[in-house]
């Protein structure tokens, strides 16, 4: 743990926000995400448990929760994506990022580069709009055509 902490403190691209017994909260720029993910993967943080997205009007805050389950250590990575910008996908390094990033795209509209299959997952395929943004229109278009089925 001390080894990781000193490595993070000496790194200029990483800012440590809070630090508890076995849980760190770090803030990074969104173009540094692949580097820090590789670094943490080397330190046995093998699982990506969840990705939380919060809409802050002009930008969207993404929080990745990485875990080293066998040793009970956690890291919350915080980064910001401005409206219209993209961020790299982590689906090569963490397999659970496949569906988690699809969910963030479906509900918030954040585009992930190099994702194998970035399509809607919870809403129907012909749904228009990103519903969980704060300025989503109330009358989002719904498809009520009974002869329409979804094929892959």
């Amino acid at each position: 743990m001390k080894n990781l902490k000193s490595q993070l403190q000496n790194n200029q691209n990483v800012k440590i926000l809070t630090e508890e017994k076995n849980e760190f909260t770090l803030e990074i720029e969104n173009n540094y995400i692949i580097n820090i993910a590789n670094l943490l993967l080397g330190k046995n943080y093998l699982s990506l448990l969840t990705i939380v997205a919060v809409d802050l009007e002009e930008k969207i805050k993404l929080i990745y929760r990485l875990a080293d389950i066998e040793n009970n250590r956690f890291i919350n990575l915080q980064t910001f994506v401005k409206n219209g910008e993209h961020i790299e996908s982590l689906s090569d390094l963490f397999k659970s990022a496949n569906w988690l990033e699809r969910e963030v795209y479906d509900l918030f509209g954040v585009k992930f580069l190099n994702h194998p299959n970035l399509t809607r997952i919870l809403n129907p395929d012909d749904f228009k709009g990103f519903p969980l943004l704060k300025n989503a229109k109330k009358s989002l278009k719904k498809s009520k055509n009974p002869n329409q089925l979804t094929f892959f």
Partner: protein, 149 residues
């Protein structure tokens, strides 16, 4: 020689109402109460409705138990069309009647089931008790007995 005479109409309706075969179509929380009704404490088999069939071609009662979302509408329509006449529909739970707890601020829930398929009996509750579902089935049996054929 012993024989009983009756109108064929009444005999056919009596046979039909005492052997309704439901389709396994539980969507959400109300499905668990439907399963409890079919289990041993509130036995549904003693009223003839115990044989849950998996395919719509062999069923004549569709109990829609749970919330209907927009993505599910084409499938419900297909299932209803695949059932053969005479067929009946029970709308179970508040979510199928008018949206239930999801009637406001939701972008993906269909508020009214009877805009999609014609409904015979509504059973309110969130979720309705097994006794309430049994009462709904009794009302359906009364309705079948008094139908004009």
């Amino acid at each position: 020689m012993n024989f009983i005479t009756a109108k064929s109409d009444k005999v056919i309706k009596w046979a039909r109402k005492n052997s309704l075969w439901p389709l396994t179509f539980g969507l959400a929380c109300c499905a668990i109460e439907m399963m409890s009704t079919g289990a041993s404490k509130y036995d549904l088999d003693r009223f003839g409705c115990g044989a849950f069939r998996a395919t719509p071609r062999q069923a004549d009662l569709l109990i829609v138990a749970g919330t209907v979302t927009n993505k599910m509408i084409p499938r419900i329509k297909t299932l209803y069309d695949q059932m053969t006449y005479p067929k009946y529909v029970i709308a179970m739970g508040n979510c199928t009647i008018n949206g239930g707890p999801f009637s406001e601020h939701s972008y993906s829930v269909t508020k009214n089931l009877d805009e999609i398929i014609p409904v015979d009996i509504y059973v309110p509750g969130c979720p309705p008790r097994p006794e309430a579902l049994l009462e709904g089935i009794f009302k359906l049996q009364e309705k079948i007995q008094n139908e004009k054929s």
